[in-house]
C-alpha cells in the first residue's frame, strides 16, 4: 500500500503524454476567449479604482486645497480616459458576476430550487439600490 504514495520512478517505458504547445496568444482565437480575458483583466481596473479612491480619501483628509487639486487632476483628459475605460470594464465585471450568481448560489424554497433568473434579478436589484443610495448620499 505504501508504494502507491511514493513518487513513481522514471522508467524508459513510462508514457509521455502528448502535449501540443499552446500559443501565448491562444485567447485571441475566439471572441469568447477574448471576452474571458477581458473579464479577468477587469480586476486590474478595480485595482486602479482602489488607488484612485485612496488618492481621493487622502486629499479629502488634508484640506480644501488638496481636494480641489485632486478634482483638477481627475479632470485631466488622460485620467478621464483611463476612468471611462475602467468604468466600462467594471460594469462588464458586475454584469458577468451577477449573471454567474445563480450558479454560485443555490437557493431552495419549500424544497424547490429557486430559478436562476430570480437570483440574478435579486443581484441586479441590489446593485440598483446600492448605486441609488451612494448617488443620493453624494449628490444631496
Amino acid at each position: 500500500m505504501a508504494a502507491t504514495h511514493e513518487k513513481p520512478s522514471y522508467t524508459e517505458f513510462h508514457p509521455r503524454w502528448y502535449r501540443p504547445r499552446v500559443s501565448t496568444y491562444w485567447w485571441l482565437q475566439r471572441s469568447a476567449y477574448v471576452l474571458f480575458i477581458l473579464r479577468e483583466l477587469s480586476s486590474v481596473c478595480i485595482a486602479w479604482f482602489v488607488i484612485f479612491l485612496l488618492m481621493l480619501i487622502h486629499a479629502v483628509s488634508q484640506d480644501r486645497a488638496a481636494y480641489d487639486e485632486f478634482l483638477e487632476w481627475a479632470a485631466h483628459p488622460i485620467v478621464v480616459t483611463v476612468n471611462v475605460i475602467s468604468l466600462l470594464m467594471v460594469v462588464f465585471h458586475a454584469a458577468t458576476w451577477f449573471n454567474l450568481a445563480p450558479q454560485a448560489m443555490v437557493v431552495r424554497m419549500k424544497g424547490k430550487r429557486v430559478p436562476g433568473i430570480y437570483i440574478a434579478g435579486a443581484n441586479y436589484a441590489a446593485w440598483l439600490v446600492v448605486s441609488a443610495l451612494v448617488a443620493w448620499l453624494l449628490l444631496r
Partner: protein
C-alpha cells in the same frame, strides 16, 4: 500543502471582493471619475465629503471595499497571468507580488482612512 489549505480562504476573499466591487465601484467611478470631472454635476463640497468619509460606518465600509477589492484583483490577476501567459515557472513570484501587493494596499487603505479627521 500549506498552499492547499489557504486556497479556499483566498477564493473567499476573491469572491467577497467581487461582490463588493460589483455593487459599489461602478457608481463611485461613474461619479468621481466621469460625471464630476466632466462637469455634468457639481461635486460634493469638501466639508460635506469630509463628514461622509469620516463617519465610522463609511470608514469601515470603505476599508472593506479597498481590502476585498484588492484581494479580488490579486487572485484574478494571478490566474490571468497563469492562464494567459503560461509562465508557470514564475508562479511563486507572481503569487507573492499579487497577494503581497494586496496586503500592502490594505494596510495603506487602513492608514489613510484612520487619518481622516
Amino acid at each position: 500543502m500549506a498552499r492547499r489549505q489557504i486556497e479556499p480562504l483566498l477564493w473567499l476573499l476573491f469572491s467577497a471582493g467581487g461582490v463588493m466591487s460589483a455593487l459599489l465601484v461602478p457608481v463611485l467611478l461613474l461619479l468621481f471619475g466621469v460625471v464630476f470631472p466632466l462637469g455634468w454635476l457639481e461635486p460634493p463640497s469638501w466639508e460635506y465629503l469630509k463628514d461622509v468619509i469620516g463617519h465610522p460606518v463609511t470608514r469601515v465600509l470603505l476599508f472593506l471595499l479597498c481590502m476585498l477589492a484588492l484581494f479580488h484583483w490579486a487572485h484574478r490577476f494571478r490566474y490571468t497571468l497563469y492562464d494567459g501567459l503560461q509562465i508557470k515557472h514564475l508562479n511563486e513570484m507572481i503569487a507573492l507580488m499579487c497577494y503581497g501587493g494586496a496586503i500592502v494596499g490594505s494596510v495603506t487603505a487602513g492608514y489613510l482612512l484612520w487619518q481622516v479627521p
